[in-house]
């Protein structure tokens, strides 16, 4: 049976495609966007949140961990994540639920069964199911199996991807999806590399490929202050999207938010973009109008 590692199910999702949806967040990602709002999904094996404010200093984790890797701090414990080893048993032992695993293995049947429970909401709102992440495409066998089953049940399926995947894998996935939400995070290769850690050649090529296949797409353009908001690059991004043709049904501008920042601390990670501010409404509106002038159907926020 195919299994997948799922971080969470977001029911009543309103931003990841048409209607009311359930978004399935998959773990594992091959990009490292500085602004990532879901850092707990970066690692294919999932992650472990630590809520220091729940800790009562009982010392159980300190005793269980390899010597000196978990120590008492003023509030909660300090965890040396590199050397402390597997936190799973510690999570199970902590009486105060200070440790919380951010993912679980699920088999396809169980997941689809759960997703189908919201059928009435999907149907009443022309919604469906979206797979996102992390990079959902990395677990393509699992996705393929799940989406095929959902489609068989008459449910609209959407794939939210950053597109960094071998073309044949992506094309195969497209057979079972009705819609692709496709991230284009920068046009310029250097900017892309600086922001996400990877080159975007394949991403742009794949976008063209999907359009050639007439795959309905919503392009998502995140705009982060000082990272990928260079006006020239934004223009280039929009022009590239325009060149993709009629497959692109809509372009969602996603203004940067820092709602994921709190998660970094819980994962023992550092958030590099601390205090970079927000995109102004005026700027977002201007970008929207720029896209509209090109004849694109633009939204802010989706």
């Amino acid at each position: 049976m195919v299994q997948g590692r799922v971080s969470k199910l977001q029911r009543y999702a309103t931003k990841d495609g048409p209607g009311l949806r359930t978004t399935v967040f998959m773990t594992g990602c091959n990009l490292r966007c500085k602004w990532c709002a879901n850092p707990e999904m970066l690692n294919a094996k999932g992650g472990m949140f630590y809520y220091k404010e729940r800790c009562q200093h009982c010392g159980i984790c300190v005793q269980m961990a390899a010597l000196g890797t978990i120590t008492f701090a003023e509030i909660g414990c300090a965890i040396d994540r590199e050397h402390c080893g597997d936190l799973e048993p510690i999570k199970d032992a902590c009486p105060f639920e200070a440790y919380e695993s951010t993912s679980q293995l699920m088999d396809c049947e169980t997941l689809v069964h759960k997703l189908l429970r919201d059928r009435e909401f999907y149907e009443n709102s022309n919604g469906g199911v979206t797979f996102s992440g992390g990079e959902a495409g990395l677990q393509d066998d699992f996705l393929y199996a799940c989406a095929a089953k959902l489609r068989q049940a008459g449910i609209h399926t959407a794939l939210d991807t950053a597109g960094l995947l071998e073309p044949q894998r992506l094309l195969r996935l497209c057979q079972v999806f009705d819609l692709v939400l496709y991230d284009i995070k920068a046009f310029d290769a250097d900017i892309h590399k600086r922001c996400t850690g990877v080159d975007n050649t394949l991403i742009l090529e794949n976008a063209k490929l999907l359009c050639k296949q007439k795959m309905p797409m919503i392009v998502r353009m995140i705009v982060v202050p000082g990272m990928n908001d260079d006006p020239a690059d934004i223009t280039a991004r929009l022009q590239f999207v325009k060149s993709l043709g009629s497959s692109v049904k809509q372009v969602d501008l996603l203004p940067y938010h820092n709602l994921g920042e709190g998660k970094y601390d819980k994962l023992g990670m550092t958030y590099e973009l601390h205090d970079i501010g927000k995109m102004s409404d005026e700027r977002m509106e201007a970008i929207k109008q720029e896209g509209q002038k090109l004849g694109l159907h633009m939204t802010i926020g989706g």
Binding site: L9, Y12, L20, R117, E123, S125
Partner: protein, 805 residues
């Protein structure tokens, strides 16, 4: 002022005045008024020895003749309940000891405070002597069995408001009232009196009805004089004309039927107001307002007398005026119903008895009026079904988005079958309306009362199951589950625990019904109210008050609190003790005893918390919660009300979860529970999941609720959900939210209500109430200004899971 979707085409609706009027009403101060108490005391002294129904009618007429009247500035709807706006009249005949005892505390309550000046205090104290030993409460306490008092000591039972106040819970037959007027109803009684085969009871009733209706007409004529007088001195030309018109209208108003839309709305308000001077029950409700005022609206629109804009103005004034009324309760009852609630439910839309959609202009205008009035009363509800216009639901969603909790929505596809489960014909069932918070009744056919006579604390019963029937707090033990005294008990299997649950539930339900009967028998005397009785079918024909069997139908729904806590607790026990064998029952009980304190307690609590919880679409626990409902539904129909065999159809019990804020004070009394809940924390509200237990989002909550026997909850099923404001931002989210509400129809959802306020705002409002005077929240089937709730109830609302997507 921005409307939801209505676009005014003329200036007939004065929005500026509405804003001013709304503001005046919003900053109103609750006070006490001694007038009613003084007049009824004197009147009762004069009528000693006469039949009670006549004594009450005479007192009613005396009050209406003598009380201060005033015309509310700016209002097109007139009529006042007491000497000042939002002053609560006092009803010494129901209970008076607490008025005297708590008098100096009224102003200092942590919620629902009342300002009382020294003169009023003195006037009220002067009346005390007459009422000692004569009140309804005295009668109840005299007849309450000892064992009931013990069950109250255990905190399993709580005597509801009707043990010390009037009953209320009436939806008049407005078609009838509007057609005949008070004069017409008097004439029916007069005609009846000419029959020579009347019993003494009937003769008294008809005489009382005549007195009551005459009293009402006298009161109305006083307003005619006052309005004409004020018109003379009014410098504002428009207002002077209005007052003059009101003066003329009131000269003959309600002598016969309503003659215009304005009269129809005024008559609805006036009937409501008069019932609330006659008795101090609450939940006097308006029923299907858009249905019964429709013919008057239609006629006036067609004849050109009325514009849609003017209709909106009249309805809005009516809505605002319902907030001028007030009720004071003793502190222990206030905790059960915080926020000065009157629960005057007003329902729009839904199927007509013939199966057609009943949505009309008035349905939309009521939503607009609520958008303009934004006050806790009336408690606006919308019915919907497969063919309800999407535009109405969209307007409802727009109103919900405003964040003051209204309207709540009722789904015909679930509520109608629920009403049919009582044996009602389909056409009758289709005419249901909500009364109070979410209790359902058929307007004009039900006599008094749906829910909440005696409250049953399910959480406490569960605690007793774990303790062999003994309450660990009070040490009182009424049932020895294993036959032995003391609190130790051993269960071999989940089935044994379930049997103990059923046994105790049956035992305490019996006691609760006994308490209801004691209260009801006393209210036969103390709530012998001719005026209210005449507005309900059959009463005039039979010559009986409602409490004595005058109504066409009679059902009481028992009020149960904490089904989700019980279900979650049983699921935790079943899974942890009997299936996974991770814990023993003794371990759980020890942890409960110590409120899960210490390392061992924390370990056990973690397991308990991680057991399946209702509200997450998990069949394992959802089925157990459904079992808890079934265990109660199975019991109830065998119990009879006091009217059984006296005329009304039914006279049995059904189930409801409309438990108002009782889940908070009931929680105070319950120790830690096996679901991981800590001692004294609130139980769950209505049918909603336990606080913080639902982690899978709103659709999962709906899915869990959908597995309950909602189509047999003829007394009403309460669900309260909270969304963060950004979940309804913008047109697209609004549309999705509307679709979400509509999908409830396919999900067996009886009722749903929404709070759209984020926790941050609520926390700030708790800390700085003066900065949030008009923040209104949905409490439990009704709305209240957040600042008027007691802190514990505020916390419970803050803690209710925020569904933030």
């Amino acid at each position: 002022m921005k409307c939801l979707s209505f676009q005014p085409k003329n200036n007939d609706c004065d929005f500026e005045r509405i804003a001013r009027f709304q503001k005046d009403m919003n900053i109103r101060t609750a006070t006490l008024c001694a007038e009613r108490a003084e007049i009824i005391t004197r009147s009762f002294q004069e009528t000693e020895g006469e039949p009670i129904v006549i004594r009450r009618a005479k007192a009613f007429a005396d009050i209406l003749k003598e009380m201060t009247i005033y015309i509310q500035k700016d209002s097109l709807i007139i009529g006042n309940q007491a000497c000042r706006n939002f002053a609560a009249p006092v009803f010494p005949e129901y209970s008076y000891d607490w008025v005297i005892e708590e008098m100096d505390e009224f102003a200092h309550r942590s919620g629902d405070s009342f300002q009382v000046d020294e003169a009023t205090k003195q006037r009220l104290r002067a009346l005390e002597g007459y009422w000692i030993g004569k009140t309804h409460k005295d009668e109840v306490l005299k007849n309450l069995p000892l064992i009931n008092r013990e069950a109250e000591k255990q905190s399993v039972l709580h005597r509801g408001g009707i043990s010390m106040s009037g009953d209320g819970h009436i939806i008049p037959n407005h078609d009838f009232v509007l057609k005949y007027g008070f004069g017409g109803m008097r004439d029916i009684a007069k005609e009846k009196l000419t029959h020579d085969d009347l019993t003494e009871e009937q003769r008294d009733f008809y005489q009382a009805s005549i007195l009551a209706m005459e009293g009402a007409l006298t009161y109305i004529k006083r307003f005619s004089e006052l309005a004409l007088q004020e018109a003379k001195h009014c410098t504002d030309e428009k207002r002077a004309k209005e007052l003059e018109a009101l003066g003329e209208m009131f000269a003959t108003f309600m002598e016969g039927g309503a003659r215009s839309f304005h009269e129809a709305v005024e008559a609805v308000y006036m009937t409501h107001l008069l019932m609330m001077i006659e008795s101090n029950g609450h939940s006097f409700s308006f029923g299907r307002f858009d249905q019964y005022v429709w013919p008057y609206y239609q006629a006036d629109i067609e004849s050109g007398k009325l514009s849609k804009e003017k209709a909106l103005e009249i309805i809005t004034h009516f809505f605002i005026m319902t907030n001028s009324l007030n009720k004071i309760r003793p502190w222990d009852h206030t905790q059960y119903s915080g926020g000065y609630p009157l629960y005057s439910n007003l329902m729009v839309s839904g199927l007509k008895p013939n199966g057609e959609d009943g949505t009309n202009d008035i349905s939309y205008l009521c939503l607009e009026a609520m958008n303009l009035s934004m006050l806790p009363e009336p408690n606006l509800s919308v019915r919907f079904h497969e063919h309800t216009p999407h535009s109405l639901m969209k307007d409802a969603a727009k109103l919900i988005r405003k964040g003051f909790g209204m309207p709540s929505i009722f789904c015909d596809e679930v509520c109608i079958p629920a009403m049919q489960s009582l044996g009602l014909d389909l056409a009758v069932a289709r005419d249901y309306a909500s009364m109070g918070c979410v209790e359902t009744a058929i307007p004009g056919r039900w006599g008094h009362r749906a829910t909440g006579m005696t409250y049953v604390n399910f959480g406490k019963i569960l605690e007793l199951v774990m303790n062999n029937g003994m309450d660990p707090e009070s040490g009182v033990q009424l049932v020895k589950l294993n036959g032995e005294p003391g609190r130790d008990i051993h269960y071999e299997s989940y089935e044994e625990i379930w049997q103990a649950w059923e046994k105790l539930l049956a035992f305490y339900t019996g006691l609760a019904v006994d308490c209801d009967l004691v209260c009801d028998r006393s209210l036969k005397y103390h709530d012998a109210d001719a005026f209210a009785s005449c507005t309900v079918n059959s009463s005039l024909a039979r010559g009986k008050t409602l409490k004595n069997g005058g109504a066409e139908y009679d059902y009481v729904s028992s009020s149960s609190i904490g089904m989700s806590v019980v279900g979650d607790s049983l699921a935790a026990i079943k899974k942890l003790v009997f299936e996974d064998k991770k814990l023993t029952l003794q371990q759980i009980r020890d942890a409960m005893d110590h409120n899960f304190e210490g390392l061992e307690g924390a370990k056990i609590r973690k397991l308990c918390k991680q057991a399946p919880k209702f509200g997450n679409d998990d069949d394992y626990v959802d089925e157990i919660v459904a079992d808890v409902y079934e265990s109660y539904l199975k019991l109830l129909p065998s119990f009879k009300t006091d009217r059984y065999g006296k005329g009304p159809i039914g006279c049995t019990y059904t189930m409801s979860t409309s438990n108002i804020t009782s889940y908070v004070p009931n929680g105070f009394e319950v120790g830690a529970t096996p679901d991981g809940r800590l001692a004294t924390k609130p139980l769950n509200e209505g049918a909603s999941p336990c606080l913080g237990a639902d982690k899978e989002g709103p659709t999962a909550v709906i899915n869990s609720i959908s597995k309950l026997p909602n189509k047999r909850m003829a007394g009403g099923q309460l669900l309260n959900m909270r969304f963060s404001p950004n979940a309804l931002d913008g047109e697209e989210n609004l549309e999705k939210f509307t679709r979400f509400m509509e999908a409830g129809r396919n999900k067996n959802i009886f009722h749903n209500q929404f709070n759209i306020v984020d926790s941050e705002t609520l926390k700030k409002a708790k800390a700085h109430p003066e900065e949030y005077p008009d923040l209104m929240v949905r409490v439990a089937g009704y709305c209240a200004l957040f600042s008027t709730l007691m802190p514990e109830a505020q916390d419970a609302i803050i803690a209710r899971t925020e569904l933030s997507w």
